[in-house]
Symmetry: C2
Subunit: 410 residues, 2 copies
């Protein structure tokens, strides 16, 4: 197909984009970070299928990097969004749907007594940190080394334009290492406002790690002992692992939690939930945005959450993820290729053994893409409720081409 070629539609769009957008595109969706042949621009999407600007169609395993949890253009979600859009979206205040959504979140999430809504995951994690500081009157925040919590100065992975003071009160520990956590808490002494942790360890390019329950309990104990807030950054994992919150399965509840991505099946929305201890602090901080009361994404969220509950979305995604994982293991074994699969099945990562600079992963992905499946070589992938067993089997057929290409590398 022509997308690899200099005269493809994608290449022409990239050329135009480079003139008017620094680096061709900001942030995590820049295709410059992807293997040869990956498209930058997409024409359309439906269910778990993506069509690029040159008309190639893929079984998608990235789900817009998380937001697409029920499937692109899900009828029930889009109907709810359209019905709200026919009444109003951004107005001088919210629509009644805000109250329905807030009640739904508080009912669904055991630790939650209240919620705030925003637009970005970064809005939500930053609000959690600010609420924790306001509520405790303290400043230090413990962050796992290498964890991604957003793109604000206190947490963005690039230090360009960031000052030392932006991170003056950030202390580090290692994920799943209770001793390092306790040492960092010691360093914070009487100034510990919060510990922020992702639902599982999902640092780009390395094996995913589920949270050790003893570690999760240690996080809770450190926060309880210090009177600090346990902030669960559930932006990436939320609504795929457990509808009550990603740590419900290990029985550890946060004081504050941040969500975004999948909450409205692709409509722009983020949320913070919190318990009574932090309600007053959440009232005192000032956090807002021009579109934070817009009603359409809220209507989409209510429909998304109802559908996830109705069909047991996490269960379906787990089953599809397990089918994918078993299939990839079998294919790799048949080709004699060493791979490692990690993470929850709903958000899988495939890495190759002895793979300097993800070269094998890139060859695998490029070949699988040509065969019709969109894998990622080093970031966790995402399953959706739109993936059927037949879709997974199509992805596995494409993966077969990928493993064959890796086998040719010798």
């Amino acid at each position: 197909m022509p997308q690899d070629c200099a005269n493809s539609i994608d290449a022409a769009l990239r050329g135009r984009a480079r003139r008017v957008i620094p680096g061709g595109l900001w942030g995590h969706l820049n295709a410059a970070n992807l293997p040869e042949g990956y498209p930058q621009f997409f024409a359309s999407a439906e269910g778990c299928r993506l069509r690029d600007a040159d008309g190639r169609e893929f079984v998608d395993l990235m789900c817009a990097w998380g937001p697409m949890v029920l499937g692109y253009r899900h009828p029930a979600v889009e109907d709810a969004a359209r019905r709200q859009a026919e009444r109003g979206d951004a107005m001088n205040g919210p629509a009644p749907i805000l109250v329905d959504l807030a009640e739904t979140l508080v009912d669904m999430i055991p630790h939650a007594d209240w919620c705030l809504l925003e637009k970005n995951g970064t809005d939500a994690t930053t609000a959690c940190v600010t609420i924790a500081r306001a509520g405790t009157g303290r400043r230090k925040v413990l962050v796992a080394r290498g964890s991604y919590h957003g793109a604000a100065p206190w947490c963005t992975p690039s230090l360009a334009g960031v000052t030392a003071e932006d991170r003056a009160h950030i202390l580090h520990f290692d994920y799943n290492d209770a001793a390092s956590l306790q040492a960092a808490a010691e360093d914070a002494k009487g100034d510990l406002a919060a510990v922020i942790v992702t639902a599982f360890r999902h640092d780009m390019g390395r094996d995913l790690e589920l949270p050790d329950p003893a570690f999760a309990q240690a996080v809770r104990a450190v926060c309880d002992a210090a009177g600090a807030a346990l902030i669960l950054d559930d932006v990436r994992a939320r609504f795929r692992l457990h509808l009550g919150g990603s740590w419900e399965t290990i029985g550890v509840r946060p004081d504050l939690a941040a969500y975004s991505k999948a909450i409205a099946n692709g409509h722009a929305l983020a949320a913070v939930t919190g318990n009574e201890d932090f309600r007053d602090a959440a009232t005192r901080i000032y956090t807002t945005g021009s579109f934070w009361c817009a009603a359409v994404p809220m209507a989409a969220a209510v429909a998304t959450l109802a559908e996830l509950q109705r069909i047991d979305g996490p269960g379906h995604m787990r089953a599809m993820g397990e089918r994918l994982r078993a299939g990839l293991d079998a294919l790799a074994a048949r080709h004699g290729i060493g791979i490692r699969q990690s993470g929850p099945p709903q958000m899988p990562l495939l890495l190759f053994d002895d793979d300097t600079e993800w070269r094998r992963g890139s060859v695998f992905c490029a070949a699988a893409l040509r065969a019709g499946a969109y894998f990622h070589p080093k970031h966790n992938m995402f399953l959706s409720c739109a993936h059927t067993a037949a879709d997974i089997d199509l992805a596995l057929q494409a993966a077969e081409e990928g493993f064959a290409a890796v086998a040719c590398m010798g």
Copy 2:
């Protein structure tokens, strides 16, 4: 109408909201800050008319606090949004409409060689500051005392949860006071990264001030002398005063500018534009969000900008604002009430003389609201292209009731 009553639909929604949302609502749309009788929840909107949850209809002079520039549910914008939604919104990368929008912005805006897109005005102002620091290798940012630049720790108006370090490199000057600007630049010495200024002085509750051209030239001169970035925070004013940028009329061009609010007629979008000097820095910083490549708001923005150009939106809004201003002046004079009107006609503010705590303004607004027009007692208002002379005259009829109520205060 029943909205004032304890048994109104609005009151019932507020009661439910208070249980699940701290303070009943976050941020600037919390109706607790508004006069008696103002609704919190809105059922629908069309053109320049808003309908609250209890079915009362108003001629709206707040325009969703800025985003609604063409009118609620504008057919051309909503058609463009719907057509894009039928193809795709958030995907693994942008749709081709991104390139169209970026080229439109760069063509429309004389200082712009490139753009970035985000979701919130705060995203855009924060990205400007980060780009300025990355580009200059310096840290200090000069901010006008009392200016609102967003809700991030470096700029949010509440200090709850904010640390001193979040603002360690912020220095202050007074808007329209070149001497204070020069003094602040002196204090920054060799560490001046940027001066950030709003398009005009629009601090809540006080008379608006247009920028003195000599002051604007002084900002440019200070930045040029220091090799610092002039950041125009055009989030609030953008696309109402001049389509090329709000300082085009005074002939001073920024290096970086931030937009949001009206850019997509209510769809969630923000933008940064910059010149060549800062392209490399904009490439090096890391700024992103889950929905920043979503295609629907971009399609809405392209349609919004085309329509604003086609109908000379700023000219129409100026004419309607002048009609409103003249009418209010005449009514106030007839009632013998001292008022002050300030700001550009497209974004007017009405304040009453000798008005401690905006009591007269609140009485005026409450009475005008009962008569069918939604004014604001202390924040600048917004005209839209949907306001016709007949709508302005309806708002003036309601204002007549407002002035009569103020006259009764004695």
